[in-house]
Structure formats: C-alpha cells, structure tokens
Symmetry: C2
Subunit: 143 residues, 2 copies
DNA sequence: TATTGTTATACTCTATAACTATA
DNA sequence: TATAGTTATAGAGTATAACAATA
C-alpha cells in the first residue's frame, strides 16, 4: 500500500513531514505575509507572550544573530517589541504587540487546524507513540 | 516529568525534532563539508542512485530552481553528475559519482547511527505508531 | 500547448567573528 | 572574564517569473 517506498528512515521522514507542515502552514497563512521563520518565532511567543532573545533562539533553533534579522522585520511590522529586561540590562524581552498577539493567535489556530486534519482518524495509542518519539528526539542528547 | 512544557503541538514538535536531527547529522558529518540541503539531496540519491531533477525535487521538498544551485555545487565537487535522460531529452538524470556514492553511503551510516541512538529502548509498538503518523503527515493532502 | 530544467532576480536564513554594553 | 545581543560579512536556500529546448 506504500507504493514502492518503505519510507525507511525516520530521520528522512521527519524531514519530509516537517517540510510538509511548514508549507501547509505558510499556505494557510499567506494573507499574513510571513516567512516560515517569522511564523515559527511568533508561534513560540504565543504562549507566555515574552521571551529573551536567547530563550527564543533556543526555542526556534537559530542563533541569536539570525534572530536579530527576524526580530528586526517583525518589529518593523509592529508585531513584536524589544523591551528592556527588568533585571539584566544586557538582555531584551521580546514581547508580542497587540497586532502581534492577534497574528500569534491566528497562527495557533492554523496549527491546531492542520493537526486535526493531519491526525484525524488515527487511534489515540498511535498518537501517544508519536508524541513519545517526538519528545525523545527533541530531548535526547544526540552526541 | 516533562518539565513545564507539555510539548503541546505536534507540528511544532515536528519542527524541533527535524531541526535537532539536521544539526546532529551535520555535526556527525562535518568532515564532508556539506550543507543540510546537500546532505539531504545525497541521502535521497543513496538508494536507487539516480533520479530526475523533478523526482529529486519532490523528494527533498524544494523547487527545481532551488535544486539547480544545490546540484551545481555537488557537481562542482564531483559528487553527482547530470546525465542525459535516455528517453526524454528535456530531462536530466542526476546520478552519484563514485566519490558521491561513498559520501552517500557515509550519510546513510550516520543517519542509521543517529536513529539507533535516538530510538534505542523505545518499544516497537511506539515506533510503529510513530512511522504511521509520519507517513500520514507526509502523504496526506493538507489542503 | 505543456513540461523540464535553467537563468535572473530579489530576499531571507544561516553561521562566524568581531564588537559594545553590561554582568 | 564571561555573557547578551548586534553588526558585518559572506554564502546558501527560497520562490517567482521568464526562458529555451523538447514533448
């Protein structure tokens, strides 16, 4: 049933699936005019609404120097703001603006919708297994 | 047990896990001096050893115009070659050269090693569930 | 007419290293 | 001395549109 490919590698499959979801998300959110990295950053701000650059950097898996450009563009569009950190004057708190919060909410809705569509009909135990592996991969020390 | 984060979103978790494996793979293969996209392309050539540009494009999830640059660099380093397609004179067959084949084999070994390390100790049923979801995500029509 | 792949263009992402300002 | 973040730099990925050759 799987045509000719065994979809043998978990790593390659992971790559492909991630690519797929990024594309799908981008398409669902074209009207926002955001890149994948920008969507990712906003999605990661959506919950607690604020992070230092270093925290966000760890969350999205990019160097802080990379984040600088992404945040510049988001800030220019008034979706985030860089606030002085209350206790560390070297650091910034990246916070969602009001329109940024709306965008982040919409991103979350799109993510949730996508997940429902992708995972509909799969048994709960299968999903649990999936999350378990996902956590193992994200958490494990790969060295 | 999962600290504070429920790792709530499958999509975001997928992103993070994919990022993780790309990094880990890159580190395991630094001596090859290849980028993630180049590794991905070679990995996708590793099995049948040849693909048209369009096929490879679908496999790696990039536009053919993107692939042009990647293939240019791989060809310049004598890792792949563009051969005339036997029956369609518009198309090219991307084939591994002999050193390219060695690189691809090494990439496969690295991928396999990584998978063993990441997935060691997880029950088989969990892994089966994981692959099922991965296939669903990669295959499903996301529109 | 439609398709294969390249070219041209314009941005975005990416990492590294050097730098400023704090700590 | 070490850390947070930016800047400078340079390369690589990305998509779109236009194009040539072929189907």
């Amino acid at each position: 049933m799987q045509s000719e490919s065994e979809q043998s590698s978990v790593v390659l499959g992971l790559q492909r699936a991630a690519h797929r979801t990024v594309h799908a998300l981008g398409e669902a959110l074209t009207h926002l005019g955001l890149t994948a990295a920008e969507i990712n950053a906003l999605a990661n701000l959506a919950d607690d609404r604020q992070r230092t650059v270093a925290e966000l950097s760890a969350a999205v898996g990019a160097k802080s120097s990379t984040l600088t450009g992404i945040l510049d563009r988001l800030e220019r569009r008034d979706l985030v703001r860089r606030q002085p950190h209350p206790t560390d004057r070297r650091a910034f708190l990246v916070v969602l603006t009001e329109p940024g919060g709306r965008a982040a909410d919409e991103i979350w809705r799109a993510i949730t919708d996508l997940e429902h569509r992708l995972l509909a009909g799969l048994p709960a135990t299968t999903l649990t297994g999936f999350r378990t592996v996902l956590n193992a991969v994200s958490t494990e020390d790969t060295r």
